[in-house]
């Protein structure tokens, strides 16, 4: 029962952890990663768009890859779209497993692939002027460490 949601609305981390605990009562470990909008260099807002359909397919594909690789019970990925402001949540990755190593590594794996494969694009707004964020080589290096 993996959960994937692409939504403009905020999410509540405690609610998502509680749902994983309820679904996977055998889990001994839940790891969560929350991505937050930074207010770098005068960024006043961020606009996120995605490719509906392909986004979900890519995330499912990588959840299945994570399940094949680590003994995880399940995972939750929530990614926000639309206009966000510094301090807002952008993304949640949560993984549940019997043991912590699998939960930590699977969460990192999912996050690295969200950054480099899931079709989302960010536009930063500074004082009314918008510019598209460029992909970072460091993100690709992070994803490439999972052979």
């Amino acid at each position: 029962m993996n959960t994937i949601r692409i939504q403009p609305d905020d999410f509540d981390i405690a609610t998502e952890i509680a749902a994983l605990r309820q679904a996977y009562q055998e889990a001994g470990a839940i790891v969560t990663f929350t991505g937050i909008v930074r207010g770098d260099d005068g960024v006043t807002a961020m606009a996120l768009e995605h490719y509906p359909g392909m986004t979900e397919r890519e995330i499912v594909r990588h959840m299945e890859a994570a399940e094949a690789r680590w003994p995880i019970s399940g995972a939750t990925v929530i990614h926000r779209i639309g206009t966000l402001r510094p301090g807002d949540n952008i993304v949640l990755v949560a993984t549940a497993s019997q043991h912590r190593h699998a939960a930590f590594e699977a969460a990192q794996f999912l996050m690295d692939y969200l950054k480099t494969r899931a079709p989302f694009w960010k536009e930063e707004i500074r004082g009314g002027k918008a510019s598209w964020v460029e992909a970072k080589e460091a993100d690709h290096a992070a994803a490439n460490r999972w052979p």
């Binding site: 991505g35 996120l48 768009e49 995605h50 490719y51 359909g53 392909m54 397919r57 890519e58 990614h79 952008i90 993304v91 996050m111 969200l114 950054k115 480099t116 494969r117 899931a118 079709p119 989302f120 694009w121 960010k122 536009e123 598209w132 964020v133 460029e134 992909a135 993100d139």
Partner: protein, 83 residues
């Protein structure tokens, strides 16, 4: 086929979607991008450097040599920046 454009590609072209018949002589996604570039104007601008672009066919990432068919949904977009 259905063509989809995202992020700055969509902005430069002023549209996110169009439908067209598979152009004669086009059999790969690279040839399709070159065909679009050869329309000139904003298309020449958006497709001048395919190294700055990525492509997907039927919602899966593909390389530039991937074959395209008339029934495909083909998307062009910059490298992704989510997360």
């Amino acid at each position: 086929m259905t063509l989809l454009y995202f992020a700055w590609v969509r902005q430069k072209l002023g549209t996110g979607e169009e439908h067209l018949e598979l152009p004669p002589g086009v059999s790969t996604v690279r040839e399709l991008a070159e065909h679009l570039r050869d329309r000139g104007g904003v298309f020449a601008d958006a497709f001048s450097n395919v190294k700055a672009l990525r492509a997907a066919i039927n919602q899966s990432h593909v390389s530039w040599d991937a074959p395209v068919r008339s029934s495909d949904e083909v998307a062009f977009f910059p490298p992704v920046t989510g997360g």
